[in-house]
Symmetry: C2
Subunit: 303 residues, 2 copies
Amino acid sequence: MKECKTVILGSIGIDDIETRLESKKAILGGAASYACAASSFFTETGMMSIVGEDFPNEYFEKYKSFGINLEGLIVEKGGKTFRWGGTYDDNMIDRVTNFTELNTLEHFEPAVPASYENAEYVLLGNLAPATQISVLEKMKNPKFVVADTMDLWINIAREDLMTLLEKIDMLMLNDSEARLLTGEHNIVKAASKISAMGPKYVVIKKGEHGAVLFEGDEIFIVPAYPVAHLIDPTGAGDSYAGAFIGYLSNSDSAKIQNIKKALYMGSVVAAFGVEKFSLERFESLTIKDIENNFVGLKNMTQI
Amino acid sequence: MKECKTVILGSIGIDDIETRLESKKAILGGAASYACAASSFFTETGMMSIVGEDFPNEYFEKYKSFGINLEGLIVEKGGKTFRWGGTYDDNMIDRVTNFTELNTLEHFEPAVPASYENAEYVLLGNLAPATQISVLEKMKNPKFVVADTMDLWINIAREDLMTLLEKIDMLMLNDSEARLLTGEHNIVKAASKISAMGPKYVVIKKGEHGAVLFEGDEIFIVPAYPVAHLIDPTGAGDSYAGAFIGYLSNSDSAKIQNIKKALYMGSVVAAFGVEKFSLERFESLTIKDIENNFVGLKNMTQI
């Protein structure tokens, strides 16, 4: 059995999405879908998630077409897959949640198959911190662990989150989440407080404005790749994190230069992802396209 | 009489500013104050503005301490200086205007002294487009003209603004203003529409998220210099524009490489400016400090 060097924990959902221009029902979504697809451009990626028996066969096939390893994907007998519906504001940033049906996600206990146990690069998507910790404890030799989190866990599971933060190398979170976690509006101050909670690296994501990497007092500014034709921003942060861990794993060393490049790759891949709904844009995307835009993004920032 | 190579048109105001932490009354403000002080680090700068007889002598002295040329500053007999009062939200971005007293600014007709007529680098701050045009028409040999604008003129003087846009090299404006001017939410599309209105270069400013330079299809992403100790954001955009035109003038060629560096200088100088109220931070600032942070900002962005 082939071992996976890169593994990703996250949700899988069936989404209904409304935007000003176009709406879609029952499309493939969830953090693990976006992150694993994005990572798969750089490395074979093992997925840890859960779906119900209702999960359409074509979606399994889609994962396979990206070469995603599905040994860690639980299909719950009689269960229903997580569902989410949201409507985007005209600015394509703010959104309201129309419904959330947790279904199988409610009691999800991730499986870590033997082929994942030696994974070196681990992305813990924004499930409950206790779930993230349970996965991490089964990893025998993690070299670089990134975790994402969200408002909900900061509010209701802060203690578990603090325990998690001591065990990971990098926390990736939105600016609003960084403010909620630290009580600091200023992101430089917020990042400093988060570093003190444990992670060596803190990445604060600012959506269309890019992201900022903090390593102690060192700051690295990551631009967003400019997007002229934004169709659906859902999953952009997950694609960003997935491309990051996939590229870093492929570079095979978590040295700072590779971390910076991996964050650029995150920007590039996330920007492709939002040009269509669900994983559609990734289906026609090639590593050559990604490399071209990586060079393009470098040219947009180097003086 | 010494000729000025760099001239700046803009308002001078006496401001009352309230922030969550600290408030100040009757401090020196206005676009011309910030822009000229910022420009003065790089080149002798001529100011075109107006004040009333009430304008405190110490503020004239302050301008002189920056080496600003005041031949174009009108002191209106019996007039009162423009006054503005505002309160910042806790996020230190959004603000409400508490009062505006236009006073002398209401009927301001800029003087262009003989020593300014041959200026090559011109910044037209956000006064009425007709006023901006009247200054430009008196310039005999402008090499590079930047204009700023604002919501008010987009709404009530669009025709004049369109005439101005055909005469300038660069328009610098906020993202919200770019959206208002073009009806496009997406800044890539908005910039493209503004280019079609005339200016070769469009700079869309995004406050703490930096700025983006557009030259046709070419995009250059300008990071904001991260600020940990933000005291008063008033005038940051004006300092940005002033440092830009001052550096460009000093580099003595509007080639793209210099334009990019000048935008970085804008970020660096603007970030210093917001560390204190009014021009206070600039009073202790040296060109060495600016150069150090320029290198720092480069290091934060180069991969």
